[in-house]
Structure formats: structure tokens, C-alpha cells
């Protein structure tokens, strides 16, 4: 009998340093990530668990640190646009707009043509919709509801195709330029976006019906990861997560940029700051974005889509080929980049996840001396350490899903 016991219970045949011989009664440390299905992008958590309950969580980001700042310092101001695309790769247009606005602020370009402003608002809002669609869909998928995810991704596909038509790329658009956008809207853009919005709203309703009225989904989200208003402010939370806590703060309303001041929309605000509120805020924001888009389509004026400023506008093709000044200007523009006066500036826009800011230090050449990105995901992610502790392992999934941590942005 003793032999049998040794064989089956004791693991004595294995050279095992962890073997203490008895029943373990202490905490267990497990490693989650960096390649784990629930870790959006890539992140690692060292969990100390007591059964299913998380006692302590040590979150390690940085698995997608791609050196945005180092790369930007080596690139001209225009060449940074592709890098900004890959910061928050779910809503690249907003990053584009943010970077362009930061450079424009340094250059002292205050007046943008109205059509340009409308275009920038429209592409930002489309990007915001794709961001929230992905966030809500992916969280639903991780909770086991696969169908809503696919419905939402289907809608995202329509928007990608539209943006592809506009910019030439499905995901990484690099559409915005300093002082304007790469090209005017494609023909029938407004008609197409109206059509997509008309088709999108029923799908949103469908997904809402599948999720909101689902008791399991509701219970998994409600009360999980809640955050108080004061904590949220002290942690520098922003975006939908902050608004879910009950703080009425949206850069588009409080510090209006572009022509957001002229557009009518509401800022949804939650009460308890739990995952359910974050989810509902995101759902409502998609509706508001759709409203903004409809207003833009109705109001968009004709006109130029670049500022008339030789510092940042490339010469016409004919001028480049036929005049020596034009050619030199083109050459300097491409090789040296846009010359920006020395100084520093911080600009922020309302990104998909919150206040997305760019802090640029310019040294007077065509390349930024320092390009710092204030990544909302990074500040938001920081709160997870606090919200996970004391919850179950399963709660990590909705918490992470609703923080919507985007690796590219968080790790830069």
C-alpha cells in the first residue's frame, strides 16, 4: 500500500524541486502572457492567486516597445505619420490628426481651411467607430459570445473599405499631412458613408440586443473593475473609462479642436465606472460619432484641403518639373523635411482610448528633437493593477477587454 501511495500521490519518481510532500496551502504564482488569449496585444501579468482569486497582480507591459520616439527622432516630421498610424492601430486616423495638429501648433498654423477641418473630423470619427467596434467585439468574443464579435467586425470591414478608398490602405492610412490631408475626399464618399451608417445602426442594435439583454454577459460585466471618480482622476484616466466613472470630460467638448465646437453631440457619462458602464459608454459613443458624421456630411463645404503655406505644402508637379525654385523647394521638402521653428508644444486630441497627446521639442531642423506620445492606454492600464486585485481570474478578461489596452500605443 505504501508503495502505491508513493507511486500515485508522492511523485517521488520525479526529481522535483517544488515537491514539498504535503498538500500545498500557500499562494500560487502563475504567469499570464505575454502570449495569452485574453491579453490584448501583448502583456504579461504575474498573478499571485489564492484558488481562483487574485491576491496580487504585477503587470508588465513593454512587449511591444517598438521605439516610436527613437524612430521619430530619426525621421522628418512627415515621415513620422506612418509611425503614428501604428501607435493606436485601431484608430490610426486620430493619431494622424493629433500629430499633424502638434506640428501645426509649433509652426504657428492656426487657421485651417473649413473643408479640411470637416475632413479631419470625419476621418477621426470613422476611426473612433472602428476602435469601439473592435473593443466591444473583442471583449464579447473573449467572454464567449462569438457572434456579436463577427457582426461588429463585419461593420468594421465596411469602414475599412471606405477608408481604403480614401487613403489607399486598409488599416495604416497615413492620410493626414502637416497642414492638410493627402488628397481630397474620394467621389461619392459622403453618399457611401451615409449608406454605411444606415447599415451600421441596425447591426449595432442587433449586437446590443444580443449582449445587453443577455443575463450572463450583463453579470460578467456589471460591478467588475469599478473605479471611483477620485481615483480615476488621480490616476490620470481618460477617455471612455474616465467617462464611465462619471467624470464629464471629453477633449472634443472641453477643449474643442478643429470644428468640434460647431457640431452637436452628447458625451455619454456612466455612474459606477465598472466594465458595464465602459461598455455602454463605448456603445453610445459610436452612435454619437455616427451623428457627428451625418452632420459633417450635411455641412461640409467646398474648398481647399491644404493650408496655403509654402513651408509645408509641396509645390505643384508642373512647378517642380519646370522651375528651378520649385524643384529646390520640392527637394528640400523631401530631404530636409518641413522646417519647424525651435520650441516645444503639447497638443492633445480625443483618441479612441482617451486623451492622446503629442509633446514635441523642435530644434529648428526638419526632424523632431523629441517626439513624446502621451498614450492614454498606458495611463489606463496602470489602473488594472488596482482593479484586478481581489477579483477572480475570470474577471481579468472583461477588465482587460474594457480597458482596451492597445499594445502599440501603450508600449510605444
Amino acid at each position: 500500500m505504501s508503495e502505491l501511495k508513493t507511486l500515485i500521490l508522492g511523485r517521488k519518481n520525479v526529481d522535483d524541486p517544488d515537491d514539498t510532500g504535503g498538500m500545498p496551502n500557500d499562494l500560487m504564482t502563475v504567469n499570464m502572457g505575454p502570449s495569452h488569449p485574453a491579453m490584448h496585444g501583448t502583456i504579461r501579468i504575474e498573478l499571485t492567486i489564492d484558488g481562483e482569486r487574485v491576491v496580487e497582480a504585477d503587470i508588465n507591459p513593454g512587449y511591444l516597445h517598438r521605439g516610436f520616439e527613437k524612430e521619430s527622432e530619426a525621421a522628418t516630421y512627415t515621415q513620422v505619420f506612418p509611425y503614428t498610424d501604428r501607435l493606436n492601430y485601431v484608430s490610426p486616423m486620430i493619431n494622424n490628426v493629433g500629430w499633424a495638429m502638434a506640428v501645426e501648433k509649433l509652426m504657428g498654423i492656426d487657421e485651417l481651411p473649413p473643408r479640411l477641418q470637416y475632413i479631419r473630423v470625419m476621418v477621426s470619427e470613422i476611426s473612433r467607430i472602428t476602435d469601439h467596434l473592435t473593443c466591444v467585439g473583442a471583449s464579447a468574443m473573449e467572454l464567449g459570445a462569438f457572434a456579436p464579435f463577427l457582426f461588429l467586425v463585419k461593420v468594421r470591414e465596411w469602414l475599412y473599405e471606405l477608408l481604403e478608398e480614401l487613403s489607399g490602405a486598409r488599416l495604416t492610412h497615413s492620410y493626414v499631412r502637416v497642414g492638410g490631408v493627402a488628397k481630397d475626399l474620394s467621389p461619392k464618399f459622403c453618399a457611401k458613408i451615409t449608406d454605411i451608417l444606415d447599415r451600421m445602426e441596425p447591426v449595432l442594435d442587433e449586437a446590443k440586443g444580443l449582449l445587453n439583454s443577455n443575463k450572463i454577459f450583463y453579470d460578467r460585466m456589471a460591478g467588475v473593475g469599478s473605479f471611483t471618480e477620485d481615483d480615476a482622476i488621480a490616476y490620470g484616466l481618460s477617455g471612455p473609462c474616465l467617462r464611465a466613472c462619471g467624470v464629464d470630460y471629453d477633449v472634443r467638448k472641453d477643449f474643442p479642436y478643429l470644428n468640434y465646437g460647431d457640431l452637436e453631440f452628447d458625451v455619454p457619462v456612466g455612474t459606477s465606472g465598472d466594465c458595464l458602464d465602459r461598455y455602454l459608454v463605448r456603445l453610445e459613443e459610436m452612435r454619437q460619432s455616427s451623428l457627428i458624421l451625418r452632420q459633417c456630411i450635411a455641412q461640409i463645404p467646398e474648398g481647399p484641403v491644404m493650408v496655403d503655406d509654402p513651408r509645408c505644402v509641396m509645390p505643384e508637379k508642373g512647378e517642380t518639373y519646370n522651375t528651378i525654385e520649385g524643384m529646390i523647394r520640392h527637394f528640400k521638402h523631401i530631404v530636409d523635411g518641413i522646417r519647424v521653428e525651435p520650441g516645444e508644444a503639447y497638443t492633445f486630441v480625443e483618441g479612441g482610448n482617451g486623451e492622446l497627446g503629442f509633446f514635441i521639442v523642435a530644434d529648428g531642423t526638419g526632424r523632431p528633437w523629441k517626439a513624446y506620445c502621451r498614450a492614454p492606454s498606458f495611463s489606463n492600464l496602470q489602473t488594472v493593477t488596482k482593479t484586478i486585485s481581489g477579483r477572480l481570474i475570470s474577471d481579468i478578461v472583461p477588465i482587460f477587454g474594457m480597458i482596451n489596452m492597445i499594445g502599440g500605443e501603450c508600449d510605444k
Partner: protein
């Protein structure tokens, strides 16, 4: 002679099964993950190729899709997951970052995952279009069907060496 024919046929049968049953391990790190979602989504539907089961345990998956940039910090994890995959295993470098490091040439980014693990199919693009990904999967199916993936070739080489050693020994 007869035995050899049988083993070849058996190998063909196995390869036929393998090529229509890719259980993927999505090693998703970055932007390409968004396009990976699109590939799995209704319009492109990777499931048509029998590759829809994402298995998050490396033991049960055959195809590792390295989707996105691999940084130096991530590299040990990638290598470890690759070592944990059960044979036969195939690797797709999804996107230009996984293939070469892309336009990130700096202190933190690995210049291509083939510095760390062998790769069967490279899919270019930043990120690649879903059509390109489907093309890559068809290419891999062809490779697997013909037994020309890195690991299959290596296994064959080793078998040949064994045989040689045996015949020399005799």
C-alpha cells in the same frame, strides 16, 4: 521496396490530412492582429481552409502565425512557444514586421523572426491584406501537401542520415 512505397503513401495521406487541418496558434502582438481578425471574420473567413480553430495551447496547434512585431523582450517567449509546439509544426510570418522587422530598425525590434525560429511562409504587407493572408495559407497548404516545410525537410534529412549510418554500420 514495397515498404518504401507504403511509407510514402502513408506520408502522403498524413500530409493530405495536415494541410486541411491547420489548428492555428495566433501569436498576436501588434497591428497585424486587426487584419488577423478580418481574416477570421465573415468576409474572408479563414475557416474555409479548415484553419478556424485558434488553439491557445501550443501542444494542440500545428500552425503558428506570428502576427506583428516581435521585440527583443518578446523573443524568448516566441522561441519558447515554438519549442512547445508539437511536431509537425509550421510558422507563418504574418506581416513585414515579423518577416524583417519592417521600418522599425532600432534597439528594441528583432529584425525578422527568422533570427529566432525557422519560417515557412512570409506574408509581406504592413499589415498584409486579408487576400494576401489567404494566399499565404494556400501556399503553406501546398508546401505541407508536398512535404516541403522546414520541419518536414529536416525530418526527412535526418531519416536519410539515419539510414546511411545504418547501411554504413552494416
Amino acid at each position: 521496396m514495397g515498404l518504401e512505397i507504403t511509407t510514402t503513401k502513408l506520408e502522403d495521406l498524413a500530409n493530405w490530412g495536415r494541410k486541411f487541418s491547420f489548428f492555428t496558434y495566433p501569436f498576436i502582438t501588434a497591428c497585424c492582429g486587426m487584419e488577423f481578425m478580418s481574416v477570421a471574420a465573415p468576409k474572408y473567413d479563414i475557416a474555409r481552409f479548415g484553419a478556424e480553430f485558434p488553439r491557445f495551447s501550443p501542444r494542440q496547434s500545428d500552425l503558428m502565425m506570428v502576427v506583428g512585431t516581435i521585440t527583443e523582450k518578446q523573443a524568448p517567449a516566441l522561441k519558447r512557444v515554438y519549442d512547445q509546439l508539437a511536431e509537425p509544426k509550421y510558422v507563418i510570418a504574418f506581416g513585414v514586421c515579423a518577416s524583417t522587422g519592417g521600418f522599425y530598425q532600432n534597439y528594441s525590434v528583432v529584425p525578422g523572426i527568422d533570427q529566432i525560429i525557422p519560417v515557412d511562409v512570409y506574408i509581406p504587407g504592413c499589415p498584409p491584406r486579408p487576400e494576401q493572408v489567404l494566399d499565404g495559407i494556400i501556399l503553406l497548404q501546398k508546401k505541407v501537401g508536398e512535404g516541403r516545410t522546414v520541419n518536414q525537410m529536416r525530418a526527412r534529412r535526418e531519416a536519410m542520415k539515419d539510414k546511411q549510418r545504418q547501411s554504413e554500420g552494416v
